[in-house]
């Protein structure tokens, strides 16, 4: 077995979600005997920084590249370079407008957020005011999750009103302050959707600090969210399968290197989980700490 | 002949201070009109009004008989009014030439590009006309205060103003440069330029001025012809009393223990093998021309600059001094010649500046400061040195130049060092206060303190020193007894050795 060198350029690094992707990638690397590096820019708006990372990764001449594009177009010239150098590219998390990536390991964020909207509607009894605290106004995941949630509410639940959508950069503290402001501005609010891990934790913090009883639906997992769901502070959350995304990306890269054919999309799936379903093996498997 | 400029009934107040009240002044073409007064009398303020820095609160300004408003420095320039400010106003990161022509740089290629060559040429021409040996391309920040002052003078000359205000231009200069300046002033006079001349050096007034106007406490006292009025009269107009001029008494200190001994001090080209000693109770004068290296010696002893070699002994013990802190610890204090950059924390108030070197004394357990005690001490010195300030909480930068100098002196008096090095201690200080400071220095010496006075004013050196060390180009060229003659000092101060040696070094 060769010791393949695989470079993963992600959209972020420090966030737990990306750390879980990294963990999945590392797991596959250990399994299949590859070396994996994992890097991502500071924030999901730094498209050019991601290009620099991709360029440096190309200079390293890895055997394969995994790439989670912040912008669906910006990387086209660099991906062409990879193709010219016969380096297989696997897209993960979000796709790119290009036929260069051999496959994409991803979740449908719009559908996932729509599921959160359905659950929210169910929990608040189909009417009332809700709000969204999201992480980023311009990143793909930020847009998809906000749109997925808001559009679903609009289409399917005419009696529910989304009164506020605000962005806290995924920073727990900032999201806490935002959630508190929303709660104080809308005393009759029924629920808040926290569109990523940091936002969701912030929302629960805000709720707790104000002793509010609103319904909170989160996104992703992590020890804190799991704890909140356990304690009832959060009703439930959508989880993707970040470990699976990382794992499948590396696995696909190695398959490609071995000349195997790949499906165009590897759907890693998403689930809604709450206190009752958290223990299910199929869900427990995709939750991370 | 019509007056070039007339100031009538000028008034100006700052928060808490009435700087000027009903002041009159006029200037004829081709005359040198001296403006005299104690520190804080309002001389600089009046001139700042004339040069567009401050707006007056009351009164009228007439230029060639016509009332005018001078709203900005630029307007003043356009009216032909130039000024050399008391506080150096130079851009330290720029060269001498760039400073002199700021705002009026020679251009080329249709005004788009600066013509640096023409700039340096024009500057060189001005320097030549002043007999000043200075490269136009030298960064101003690396010059001594004296050279910076010469750059300021060159800058003022370059404007070719009809009215030239000189606010203490010679405070940092010594006799040679003063003589050069007077040649220039006489030339300008002949050209019909009117000059306002402010100085605390009384002898200069006699030498060059035609009329003298005296101010006291922001008010106009009177105008007298310089030639026919005695110095005593002018001084009494200034201070409101006559001053006694005490003669030098040289005490016999030969039996007193040596307080400070410097052995074979070297630092680059500025200090070459300097050795001397000062005894307790002795005042040692350190004389020399500008750039002789006196300041460098003082700074090296004080640990402000590193030295290449040499030993310093205090009270018979060799001390290792590598920072000013070490020096102060060993009982040495140093009053810098450049109060603005090295003496005052200008943003802090008078009280804190006076206490700055002695804060430890006012610190109670737990790091707490005894502000009450600090205030008492500050008020004592404000009284003793007659520092003119509304209160001890006035910011130092708002004081007049001479009063700032007094604050720095107070700082070192309070520190109570056994060995005091005063570099140009009376720079910008009025006659009355000067004699107070002389008395103070004598009293300190009588208490057994060893004092080194660096001064570019020979009369001051002669008036104070029990012994006089003379430097030239970094070397100590001789040691004279107190009461030596000016000629003897000048002889040693010009004993150049380097002319020959330099050739060898360069090869």
């Amino acid at each position: 077995q060769d010791n393949y060198d695989i470079a993963l350029i992600s959209k972020g690094f420090q966030h737990q979600f990306w750390q879980a992707v990294k963990a999945g990638a590392d797991k596959a690397a250990a399994e299949f005997g590859a070396t994996v590096t994992f890097e991502g820019p500071e924030t999901e708006s730094q498209v050019d920084r991601q290009m620099d990372m991709l360029a440096a990764a190309l200079s390293r001449k890895p055997d394969a590249i995994g790439f989670a594009a912040l912008d669906s177009q910006a990387a086209t010239p660099l991906l062409q370079q990879a193709k010219d150098a016969a380096i297989p590219v696997i897209a993960f998390d979000s796709g790119v407008d290009s036929d260069i990536p051999l496959t994409t390991a991803t979740t449908d964020n719009v559908a996932a957020a729509a599921l959160a909207a359905d659950k929210m509607a169910e929990l608040i009894g189909g009417e009332g005011k809700v709000a969204v605290v999201a992480h980023d106004q311009t990143s793909r995941t930020g847009i998809d999750r906000v749109d997925g949630f808001v559009n679903r509410i609009k289409e399917a639940y005419p009696k529910i009103e989304v009164v506020s959508v605000q962005y806290g950069g995924g920073d727990q503290l900032q999201s806490t302050e935002i959630a508190k402001s929303i709660l104080l501005a809308n005393p009759d609010l029924k629920g808040i959707f926290g569109a990523n891990e940091g936002s969701a934790i912030g929302v629960v913090n805000g709720k707790t600090e104000l002793n509010s009883t609103i319904v909170v639906i989160g996104f992703d997992s992590g020890a804190a969210q799991k704890g909140f769901i356990e304690s009832g502070a959060m009703a439930g959350a959508i989880t993707q399968n970040p470990v699976g995304i990382g794992y499948e990306t590396v696995k696909a890269a190695i398959s490609a290197l071995k000349g195997e054919t790949l499906p165009p999309i590897i759907d890693t799936g998403f689930y809604y989980y709450d206190k009752a379903t958290m223990g299910n093996p199929e869900i427990a498997a995709v939750l991370y700490d | 002949m019509d007056a070039l400029i007339e100031l009538i009934g000028i008034g100006k107040s700052f928060p808490g201070v009435r700087a000027l009240h009903n002041v009159n002044f006029d200037l004829q073409a081709g005359e040198v009109h001296a403006l005299m007064g104690e520190n804080g009398a309002g001389k600089s303020t009046l001139m700042k009004i004339l040069s567009g820095v401050y707006r007056r609160d009351a009164g009228e300004i007439r230029l060639d008989g016509k009332p005018v408003e001078i709203g900005s420095p630029r307007q003043a320039q356009e009216m032909g009014i130039g000024i050399i400010h008391q506080e150096l106003a130079l851009m330290r990161d720029l060269t001498a030439a760039q400073n002199i022509f700021i705002g009026r740089e020679p251009r080329q290629l249709g005004g788009w590009l600066l013509d640096e060559k023409a700039l340096n040429r024009a500057t060189q021409a001005i320097f030549d006309s002043m007999n000043l040996k200075l490269a136009p391309t030298v960064p101003v920040g690396s010059l001594t205060v004296a050279k910076q002052q010469m750059v300021e003078i060159a800058k003022a000359l370059s404007y070719r103003s009809r009215i030239l205000i000189m606010d203490e231009p010679t405070a940092a200069l010594n006799d040679a440069e003063i003589a050069e300046l007077f040649v220039i002033i006489n030339r300008l006079k002949a050209e019909g330029v009117g000059i306002v001349y402010i100085s605390h050096k009384m002898d200069e007034i006699k030498r060059i001025s035609d009329r003298v106007t005296v101010m006291r406490d922001g008010e106009y006292v009177g105008t007298v012809p310089a030639a026919t009025t005695s110095m005593e009269t002018i001084i009494s107009m200034m201070v409101g009393r006559t001053l006694s001029n005490e003669a030098l008494v040289v005490p016999n200190t030969s039996a007193a223990p040596v307080a400070l001994e410097v052995r074979n001090l070297n630092r680059g080209r500025e200090i070459r093998d300097v050795s001397f000693s000062v005894r307790q109770g002795e005042i040692l004068g350190l004389a020399g021309l500008m750039g002789a290296g006196r300041t460098e010696v003082a700074r090296a002893i004080f640990g402000a600059d590193p030295r290449d070699s040499g030993e310093i002994w205090v009270n018979g013990q060799r001390v290792g001094i590598s920072t000013p802190g070490d020096a102060v610890h060993a009982g040495i204090g140093y009053l810098s010649e450049d109060r603005k950059h090295f003496g005052l924390a200008t943003g802090m108030n008078v009280r804190n500046n006076i206490a700055l070197a002695s804060l430890a004394r006012f610190t109670r357990p737990g790091g707490l400061l005894d502000d009450g005690a600090m205030r008492k001490v500050a008020e004592r010195y404000i009284g003793q040195l007659s520092i003119k300030t509304p209160s001890d909480t006035q910011e130092a930068r708002l004081l007049s130049g001479g009063n700032q100098q007094k604050v720095v002196i107070a700082k070192w008096l309070l520190r109570d060092c056994d060995i005091l090095i005063f570099d140009e201690p009376t720079r910008g200080i009025d006659v009355g206060a000067k004699s107070e400071i002389y008395k103070l220095l004598n009293a300190l010496a009588a208490e057994g303190k060893a004092i080194i006075v660096i001064s570019s004013e020979l009369p001051e050196v002669l008036r104070l020193s029990h012994r006089i060390a003379v430097m030239c180009e970094g070397r100590l060229t001789g040691m004279l007894p107190g009461g030596a003659s000016q000629e003897e000092i000048m002889h040693l101060a010009t004993q150049r050795q380097s002319a020959v040696a330099e050739m060898r070094h360069a090869g």
């Binding site: 600090e209 804190a224 | 700052f14 802190g325 200008t346 802090m348 804060l359």
Partner: protein, 331 residues
Amino acid sequence: MTDIAATPAKSGIRISGAFHRLLAFSGLIALVVVFSLASPNFMQTQNVLAILQATSVNGVLAIAATLVIITGGIDLSVGTLMTFCAVITGVVLTYFGLPLPLGIVASILAGTGVGLVSGTIIAKLKVPPFIATLGMMLILKGLSLVISGTKPIYFNDTPGFTQIAQGSFVGAIIPAIPVPNGVMILFLVAGLAAFVLTKTALGRYTFALGSNEEAVRLSGVNIDRWKIAVYATAGGICGVAGLLIASRLNSAQPALGQGYELDAIAAVVIGGTSLSGGRGTVIGTLIGALIISVLANGLRILSVPQEWQTVVTGTIIILAVYADILRRRNL
């Protein structure tokens, strides 16, 4: 300190110093008035407490930055140092399982220690503060991730921990005003810092260094030592901020912190402290920090769209400072 209000007004009308000092709050008061009129929810006790709570972390960081800025320096590492201290506390409490007081001490000691290092690099190696603290910011950011294993450290095993910021001593005594402890800690730190600045030798040297460092050195003062002391003190204060944020989030979040320095410095400068050193007040910094959080809270309460929030915030920061400049000019 260097108080301009010490002398009476030059114009005919004499305005008392106290009134003028009150005017310094004018920007803040204007904001509060406008938001109160615009939304009935703004002046609710709970919202006022929320604003104060939101000020606590930035306020404490800004106080640390104030000390450094008065010396004429700058500290870009306040945000990541806060995080580093939080992580250290996490290690002490959660990984080592030591008792709570040790965690508190560890955080403040870690901050002080890092401040000592930064101060030494600045004072002894003469590295400009901007570079020294920029480097330190990056180093601490990396170390926080390394030490924590790039994941949050939770304080679930230390039940009292969340009380540091979220509990309410005051509320226990006067239930009507449950001021969170975090806010009281902010005021405590502010009071202590103001005391140090105005009443102690350290404070006096802080101002003196910023006013004219060379003159202080030539007065025989060991400036290196005092400078290091200032950075160490600021570091210790960042340690307090680390405790506050960790307690509010019940976890040490290793990835957070960068960017916080800008808010802290902004609060300092809005509060009238000059970046060139020599002047500044703690109360000004508090006002600056409050202006920032009132703005953020008020605009959110009014549900102003986020992109417009930043536009309005930028505009008002400029206007608030301009109003303060006008006030001082007319003094």
